[in-house]
């Protein structure tokens, strides 16, 4: 047991001894950690340390790659995610990517309910309207787009597109939202809007966020992980980690000595 990893009481996600390798290259090594419900958890670390791999394992998107081996377990509310169907799992774990990626052939409206549309779930028009409005309000985009719901999602600005993508992830009513550097392609104003949004969203959702931006982690996260070469080096309250890092590598990273 690594003493620099705090134990979370009643975690929504329990990751136990998780290791992931691409072919022979081990990208995530024996990670054991719990994620607190209704909090923002940031995953930090130098490039290539396995942040994305760990995040993508949580909704099993990492299985898209070939020759991948996964050992250990991940439980969502005490249910083994590797035994769930990926469809059900991914409905419970929304994902937002580095670059905004609305579907270019779909309108704003259709993008929000893309999860239903693409899966072929037929729902009533009224219900659809409600989901679209609620999701867009959740990401503070409703007022900006309510008169142009039939325009293509790709007409929006980068920041608006990214909020649309968050709305798309929210439409299914997930429990967890996974975000992989969601603001790295955005300007500072769009970034701060998304940051405010994430802080607000944690009331209803649990948020796991990969970020390269330490001040972003400091601003919005409650808990922080520091990874190095596939290992989880340190995990705890963000405040504690930034003021008093326990591991030398964490300290060096946070003070900008590498990364």
């Amino acid at each position: 047991m690594n003493p620099n990893i705090v134990t979370i009481k009643d975690p929504i996600l329990t990751i136990e001894d998780l290791s992931i390798a691409y072919d022979k290259k081990v990208a995530v090594k024996n990670v054991t950690v719990g994620i607190k419900k209704n909090s923002v958890t940031a995953i930090m670390g130098p490039s290539g340390c396995g942040k994305s791999t760990l995040l993508r394992a949580l909704n099993r998107m990492h299985e898209l790659y070939e020759n991948i081996t996964t050992t250990g377990s991940v439980r969502l509310n005490d249910e083994d995610i590797f035994k769930m169907s990926t469809i059900r799992l991914r409905r419970k774990m929304g994902m937002v990517f580095q670059r905004p990626n609305p579907f270019p052939t779909m309108s704003i409206y259709e993008n929000v309910i893309a999860g239903y549309k693409l899966n072929g779930n037929s729902i009533k028009k009224k219900e659809k309207d409600e989901i679209v409005e609620r999701s867009l309000r959740d990401v503070a985009l409703w007022d900006e787009v309510k008169d142009s719901l039939n325009k293509k999602g790709t007409f929006l600005s980068g920041g608006q597109q990214q909020r649309l993508c968050i709305a798309r992830a929210l439409a299914f009513g997930p429990e967890v939202i996974l975000l992989d550097e969601p603001t790295s392609a955005l300007d500072p104003i769009a970034t701060s809007k998304i940051e405010d949004l994430l802080i607000k969203l944690k009331e209803h959702y649990t948020i796991v966020l990969v970020t390269h931006n330490m001040s972003q982690a400091a601003r919005i996260s409650d808990y922080s992980m520091f990874m190095y070469l596939g290992e989880l080096v340190e995990y705890g309250k963000t405040k504690n980690m930034f003021t008093n890092p326990q591991d030398k590598r964490t300290e060096e990273y946070l003070t900008g000595k590498f990364g």
Binding site: N59, M61, L64, T86, I87, R88, L89, R90, R91, G94, M95, F97, Q98, R99, N101, P102, F103, P104, T105, A114, G115, K117, L118, N119, G120, C165, R168, A169, F172
Partner: protein
């Protein structure tokens, strides 16, 4: 280096630029001159014959043509049998090649670097270089001899379909490669099963690219003559039975060329074929440009 030298340098550079530019323009014009000459010739010699009747009437007999020529009249009739045959055979070829080609293209895109897909890609590239008359021969051996027991539109379509296949396979693969990976991931992250991601995200997103490839392939095979000689043979009347010999515009051009009484008709027929093929090209270019 002093100031004077620099201006001299600049001047000679500008001069060189101009000379090079002139050469480039000259050779560019040289490249397009054949097509301009061809179109000019076709219009000059063929426009008289072009009329509504030319499109809706069957080819005249050589006797009718001879009578008209000796009376100094325009040759009666048209090439409706060829137009209908071309449309029929190209449509059937497309119906075969589009689904097969798109599925194969998706397969190549999805499994890069594997043995079987690489093999298919190479075979498809080789197929693109196979002389079209050989494809006609293949269809002759398969379809004419064993399926329709005689020359037929179906046999013609099969040879054209084999020609279209590699083009559609390639354009599908290239189109899909240009779609950002992140779009596919976005759909998968919504729990959408793989085949639905292909059908509902990849194909609609790449639609114009796929369409461009298909139209170019259709334009290519529309003017094919050699494989049709060995398969569709020809017919002096409109034929809609796919198991029977059928005419096509390029086949008619070849027949007109070989008949001294009909030789005047090659210009108008070629002009019409050229207009159709060029329009397809222009349309596909427009679609491709609209995509950017």
């Amino acid at each position: 280096m002093n100031a004077l030298n620099e201006t001299d340098n600049t001047r000679s550079r500008i001069l060189k630029d101009k000379i090079v530019l002139g050469i480039v323009i000259f050779f560019s014009l040289l490249t397009i001159s054949p097509i301009v000459l061809i179109i000019g010739k076709l219009i000059a010699k063929g426009y008289k014959q072009l009329s509504f009747g030319f499109i809706v009437e069957n080819t005249p007999s050589t006797f009718e043509a001879m009578t008209a020529i000796s009376n100094h009249e325009t040759i009666p009739g048209g090439i409706a049998n060829g137009l209908v045959g071309t449309l029929l055979m190209v449509a059937m070829a497309a119906a075969i090649a589009i689904p097969v080609g798109i599925i194969a293209g998706i397969y190549l895109y999805e499994t890069p670097g594997k043995f079987l897909p690489n093999l298919i890609r190479n075979v498809s590239d080789i197929l693109q270089g196979v002389p079209s008359i050989v494809l006609g021969l293949i269809s002759y051996m398969w379809v004419v001899k064993h399926v329709t027991n005689g020359f037929s539109a179906l046999a013609g379509s099969v040879s054209l379909a084999i020609m279209m296949l590699p083009m559609i396979v390639r354009s599908t693969e290239e189109t899909f490669k240009m779609i950002p990976q992140s779009l596919k991931e976005a759909a998968l992250a919504l729990g959408v099963p793989y085949y639905k991601v292909i059908l509902k995200v990849m194909i609609p997103t790449g639609f114009s690219g796929l369409l461009t490839g298909i139209l170019l392939a259709i334009g290519r095979v529309m003017g094919e003559t050699a494989p049709l000689m060995l398969t569709a043979l020809g017919s002096s009347v409109i034929n809609l039975n796919i198991a029977k010999p059928t005419s096509a515009v390029p086949l008619l051009i070849w027949e007109f060329y070989n008949d001294p009484n009909m030789v005047d008709l090659i210009w108008s027929s070629s002009l019409l074929l050229m207009i159709i093929v060029l329009s397809l090209n222009v349309i596909s270019k427009q679609i491709a440009a609209g995509r950017k």
